[in-house]
Amino acid sequence: MAHVRLNNLSKSYGKVDVIKDVSLDIKDGEFVVLIGPSGCGKSTLLRMIAGLESITSGTLQIGGAPMNDVPPRDRGISMVFQSYALYPHMNSADNMSFSLKLAGEDEPQRRSKVDRAADILGLGPYLDRLPKQLSGGQRQRVAMGRAIVRKPEVFLFDEPLSNLDAKLRVKMRAELKELHQKLKTTTIYVTHDQVEAMTLADRIVVLRDGEIEQIGTPLELYDNPANAFVGAFLGSPTMNLLDLEVSAENPSEARFSDGEALRLAAPAAPGRATVGIRPECFALQSEAGSGALRAEVVVVEPTGASTELVVRKAGQNITVLSHERLAINPGDSVWLVPNAERVHAFPDGAAA
């Protein structure tokens, strides 16, 4: 096991900068998720750590040793690919033991390591099958098995669950988490799925256009996003981003165009502001009260466990999530009481 340190890593293809000056410290045994929209450079960054892409500038350290010019095989890493990349002509056992064979380990040793990995992953009955005889989930497990048997210092995952159907994805996600709790190997995991990031990560790194937007634990990022992009990227239903006005006299309030005001968690710079508030951070009342904002119900979507409302306030739509059964219809008026501690004003222009 090892810590991974990225010092001002950059990558350019000709004049195009894909990764711009990324610095990141990953602790021993930590599970870090790189997340961002497609094209943000998260896979490139992972491949740079793996040694499959060259590093244009900056230094990469794994376990304290500089790795910039070390070939992938000597970096002490294993990688699970999005496409699994199983060797099609080898059965599951051979797929998993290929690296051991290359390392010159003898047959009984390989056998026992493969058996142990197969035990962990429940692959016992499938060891002599070819990849084409396996289902998607089983292939995924073989790919993980191949990564495990090497006992790497660092696991790298490149969107490993995105080729699975929704149900299997949830199951494999839980298995992955369990696996990490068992093995406690440093893990770097790339995904574009915010639920995977929230559920798996010790820390999440949000990337956009090759730069780090924010680093933090899932709940830190969820509760205190550094900007509107991070706020909108994490969480479903997505964070409400409202276009409001902050006055110089009262910087801890943001006003709708109809004059009603929303209290902010912290004072903001005067002028137009993007104000973010999560859908579950409202209480609903059926009549006016202090601090309550009047809005008109547009859509009611009950899902059983909760009800999602879209309401209109001064020309802007706001999504509200309530865990109560609401007797409410489109066209009705409701009063929203926002939880002021969860209302963030973002510097303008950073919206996704």
């Binding site: 793996a50 040694g51 499959l52 070939p71 992938p72 095989r73 890493i77 294993s78 990688m79 690919f81 496409s83 699994y84 990349a85 199983l86 060797y87 099609p88 002509h89 290929f98 690296s99 290359l102 390392a103 070819l130 990849p131 084409k132 005889q133 396996l134 292939r139 191949r146 090497r150 080729n163």
Partner: protein
Amino acid sequence: MTHASDTHQPLATPQRRFALTDGQVAVIRHLILMSFALVVLFPFFWIVSAAFKTQIDLLMGRILFEPNLDGFTKVIFDKTSDFLRNFGNSMVIGAISTFLVLVIATLAAFSLYRLQWPGWVLHSLLGWSVIFHMVPPITLAGAWYSMFRSVGLDNTYSGIILAHTTLHLPMALWMMGVFVRDVPKELVEAAQIDGAKVPHILWHVVLPIVRPGLAATGILTFIFSWNEFPVVLVLSQRQTATVPLGIGKYAQENTIAFTEMAAASTLSILPAFLLLLFAQRFIVRGLTSGAVK
């Protein structure tokens, strides 16, 4: 087709005035296919049947005849016939040059497509190989003859093998290029991470996957070498002559030994035919299924 007509809905497709029924379409289609088959198979049939005729039957143009093996006997057992030797020469030259072509083409294709050469290297090499392939071999034969003569390679197996390897390398490079590119990049990367160096990747990952490609390319290369005429004509003499030259020898200044020629031609088909039968099981598609996704 018949299935489509079962679910045919008259309202959905407007009636054409001269519409053909599916049956008529099938008849026309089969007539066209049969005429193609005829064009391909008739000369073959003609040669094979000629091999079993006597010279007289053949020259009289008799369609019905009593088959005899005189042509074959002469070609194989006659003391003046070189055919068995030609056959052996063709086998040796074809096998060795095919082996060399496959080794070089596979290594080159892997290197060009998977080892991240700058674009101009890839394109200039491939471009050069196309141009070389388009040059008629006879234009090279003269130059090769004088070159080989000066280094003592004329009328040797090595010389002809070298020439055939050179001639057929571009085609093999292009074919193997296609098959090597079909090997998913991730497999090579996975192998790199698993600790494989380039020779391991080639041997343990790429080669097993491109095996059908090797079979297909190998068969074609062997057949090309087997059939190649102008270059061996220039480079070889009696000891190293190959089958096409041997067949050509039956056309002498004064007489043409048609039946021997036909018998020799018929025999010359056999290796390629057997090779195809044998290698067919390697030429299966979808060997990479299950590798990615």
